[in-house]
């Protein structure tokens, strides 16, 4: 273990230090040995539970799938953050208007109902230079400030830890 990593935890986690950072996972002996690009070897060895020569054939398998899969899209962490930020704002805004509308007319309506996650993503993905305050302004951030709620990157990260992209979709609908 590197000295700096050791020093970092020696006072706060002596038990962890005792366990060490050896990799407890393993793969079959041949797993990393045959890393050549030949594609004509057998993928599975019937004597073992995992593919023999796994990495040898992986690139072929991925290429076939990549060419047939039209939906794959990279969503960067920052894009996910924007989606999360937008979701929080939309939810808060929707909640506010729901309460507000209910108070004035007696009818509960959510303004978030018409929002599509894909639209939000596309907008955010096309506007890399947009900053958080702009997004928050879109969601009538003054209202959230009045609610004494503060958001920062860590909040959004924590939010993302608990809520996946699918969940965000559900939250928005």
């Amino acid at each position: 273990m590197k000295k700096e990593i050791l020093q970092e935890i020696e006072h706060i986690a002596p038990r962890l230090l005792q366990i060490g950072n050896r990799n407890p996972f393993k793969v079959p002996d041949s797993y990393f040995e045959n890393l050549g690009l030949e594609a004509d070897k057998t993928v599975y060895n019937s004597d073992e539970n995992v593919p023999d020569g796994y990495f040898e054939n992986l690139s072929d398998e991925v290429l076939i799938k990549a060419k047939s899969d039209k939906s794959a899209r990279v969503i960067s962490l920052s894009a996910k953050r924007w989606i999360a930020a937008a979701s929080i704002v939309l939810l808060c805004t929707a909640s506010y208007f729901t309460i507000s509308t209910h108070d004035s007319t007696g009818e509960s309506e959510s303004f978030a109902l018409d929002v599509e996650l894909e639209e939000a993503f596309d907008y955010l993905a096309d506007n890399d230079d947009i900053d958080l305050s702009e997004i928050l302004e879109l969601g009538e951030f003054e209202l959230i400030e009045e609610m004494e709620v503060e958001y920062n990157d860590m909040d959004i990260d924590l939010f993302l830890d608990e809520v996946g992209l699918d969940d965000l979709d559900e939250l928005l609908l």
Partner: protein, 181 residues
């Protein structure tokens, strides 16, 4: 020892022949990326699925790689996203209670032919699995991969300060967990 290609060489190969260049890229990065994913998702079969999805995305998006970061960092970031998405989906599908879930993870690890840790290492893995995904990522990258905060910051698009705080919290939680075992 495998000959390492530079980012420029890989991108040049991809420009000349996308499939051929991509094979070289996979050949160079699949092993460390596999281990990163494996530590995140634990089981080999899951790691295999996530690894393939990761490289499918790399293949489809390599043209958009803007060279602001290293290819390795970019792929690591995609792999991290894929792993977190996979874990969140898996978590959502689980119907067991928390204790049951913990037991099922322990059972899976004990039954996994490709886990050869001792009791203390098993406890450590169980502790890691209790962490929120972001903390788990930070802990694995720092503790096992011994990655610098600077590289991690670039990869996870998070400040060094936030990463240090996240790692500190993760270490404390893990220490408490393993002490209690």
């Amino acid at each position: 020892m495998k000959a390492q290609l530079t980012d420029e060489q890989i991108l040049e190969l991809i420009q000349l022949n996308k499939d051929g260049g991509f094979r070289s890229l996979m050949h160079q990065f699949q092993e460390p990326i596999y281990w990163h994913i494996r530590r995140m998702v634990t089981l080999h079969d899951d790691a295999n699925d996530v690894l393939q999805n990761t490289f499918i995305k790399v293949y489809k998006n390599i043209g958009k790689f803007n060279r602001d970061s290293k290819i390795y960092t970019w792929i690591y970031r995609i792999a991290t996203n894929e792993s977190i998405t996979f874990l969140n989906r898996k978590k959502k599908k689980r119907t067991e209670a928390i204790d049951g879930d913990e037991n099922s993870i322990e059972y899976s690890l004990r039954a996994d032919t490709f886990f050869d840790g001792n009791e203390a290492e098993l406890a450590l893995q169980k502790a890691i699995l209790q962490l929120p995904e972001k903390q788990k990522t930070v802990f694995n990258l720092r503790y096992y991969d011994e990655m610098s905060y600077k590289d991690m910051s670039e990869m996870l698009e998070t400040s060094v300060g936030a990463l240090k705080a996240s790692y500190h919290h993760a270490v404390k939680k893990i220490e408490n967990y393993v002490k209690g075992q």
